[in-house]
């Protein structure tokens, strides 16, 4: 895969990227880092951003329960679907003003740094 140029593209590449990360046994680590980096960007005091922070809450719980190595196909699918939802939600909220352009761009940059598999 390549770096995603938009959050919608990032959503579409979720499964592919995590599948490649799983071969390298990196899924738990990259998702944990990704969530911890981005949760502070979407504070509880900002209700309009709750859909994004709710996804990050779900994704971080999923990542927490993943084994560090040899994740199963079921676990990979669960994580990919959550990442897909998160990226689409952020894309929608960024375009409608629920989150700022900056918040969306920072999330995308973090995705490309941690999850995209160039």
């Amino acid at each position: 895969m390549t770096f995603a140029t938009s959050l919608a593209a990032a959503a579409g590449q979720s499964y592919d990227n995590l599948a490649l990360r799983s071969i390298a046994n990196q899924v738990k680590n990259v998702l944990t880092v990704f969530c911890s980096q981005n949760l502070p960007l979407f504070p509880e005091s900002q209700p309009d951003s709750h859909p994004v922070s709710n996804w990050l809450t779900v994704l971080s719980a999923i990542a927490n329960q993943l084994p560090a190595v040899n994740i199963t196909l079921t676990q990979l699918t669960q994580a990919a679907k959550a990442l897909y939802g998160l990226c689409w939600m952020a894309s929608f909220l960024q375009s409608t003003g629920g989150i700022s352009i900056s918040q969306g761009n920072t999330l995308l940059a973090s995705y490309n740094t941690n999850i995209a598999f160039p």
Binding site: M1, A8, A9, A11, G12, Q13, S14, Y15, D16, T32, C35, S36, L39, E44, P47, D48, H50, P51, S53, N54, W55, L56, T57, V58, S60, A61, N64, Q65, A80, K81, Y84, G85, L86, C87, W88, M89, A90, S91, F92, L93, T96, G98
Partner: protein, 261 residues
């Protein structure tokens, strides 16, 4: 409906007995929250989405986040507390009940037969979930049989219009198409799609497409009828209808969870 979403709290504190989240998906990633606990949860009557995920607070899970899926074939009765006083781990966000579609939706999907200049219209899937605030012995969750009706279309000259109708979990559809244009024929076809998580800008997106009725010319005044059955044709996320004339051409689509035969 768009975000911010309606809140369950006013319905709970005013003794309405239930909170109904009934909204077209504004994106494939829509996720909704309820700060109130509930005694029963089910897929609502108007839902196009068949499988709805829930996350709720559970003291015995290391992250305190438990997952459950409800569907037209399985609702849930039993007290689920929101636990706003506690926090999910490791996110550190307050307990609340979360809902989202387990079924995949992709508004960037384009049929593989589509070419530049063709257009596509989606009927956005409705997510309908009911949360009850009083104990119930059981909840009967079947969805209504839904009817989609179209008649006139905006079709670019020489091109095809695709209409995508949600079909998650449905087992039966009746389709009736009549070309009421007295002069021009209309090429009508039906296919079905199961969405995949895929990069739609790639050369070969991963969606799975099935031809139900190959595109064929429908002469002025002629009709086409087609019955789609899960036992014969399979189960799909959406039905895709194609036509190449603006009409008038009434298209009626009835979908049901049960085979009507």
């Amino acid at each position: 409906m768009s975000f911010p979403q309606p809140q369950a709290t006013p319905y709970s504190v005013n003794n309405y007995g239930f909170f109904r989240l009934n909204t077209p998906l504004s994106s494939p990633g829509d996720i909704y929250e309820s700060d109130q606990g509930g005694h029963a949860f089910c897929v609502g009557p108007n839902s196009d989405i068949a499988n709805v995920n829930m996350a709720y607070f559970d003291d015995q899970v290391p992250t305190f986040m438990q997952f459950m899926t409800i569907s037209p074939t399985r609702s849930f009765t039993g007290l689920v507390n929101a636990r706003n006083d506690a926090q999910y781990v490791p996110a550190g966000r307050p307990g609340r009940i979360l809902f989202w579609s387990d079924d995949i939706y992709d508004p960037n999907f384009r049929p593989s037969a589509a070419v530049a200049g063709d257009t596509i219209q989606f009927v956005p899937p409705l997510l309908d979930v009911v949360q009850y605030f009083t104990p119930l012995a059981s909840v009967v969750p079947p969805r209504i049989n839904k009817e989609f009706v179209f008649q006139n279309y905006v079709v670019p000259g020489g091109h095809v219009l695709y209409i995508v109708v949600p079909y998650y979990g449905r087992r039966y559809a009746f389709v009736n198409f009549t070309n009421r244009n007295n002069v021009s024929p209309n090429t009508f076809g039906i296919s079905a799609v199961n969405y995949a998580i895929t990069d739609d800008s790639s050369v070969n997106p991963f969606h799975q497409e099935t031809t139900i009725l190959a595109p064929a010319v429908v002469a002025p005044g002629a009709s086409v009828r087609k019955i789609i059955r899960a036992t014969v044709d399979g189960m799909f996320d959406a039905l895709v209808f194609s036509l190449n004339n603006g009409g008038p051409a009434p298209l009626r689509i009835d979908v049901a969870d049960q085979d009507e035969s």
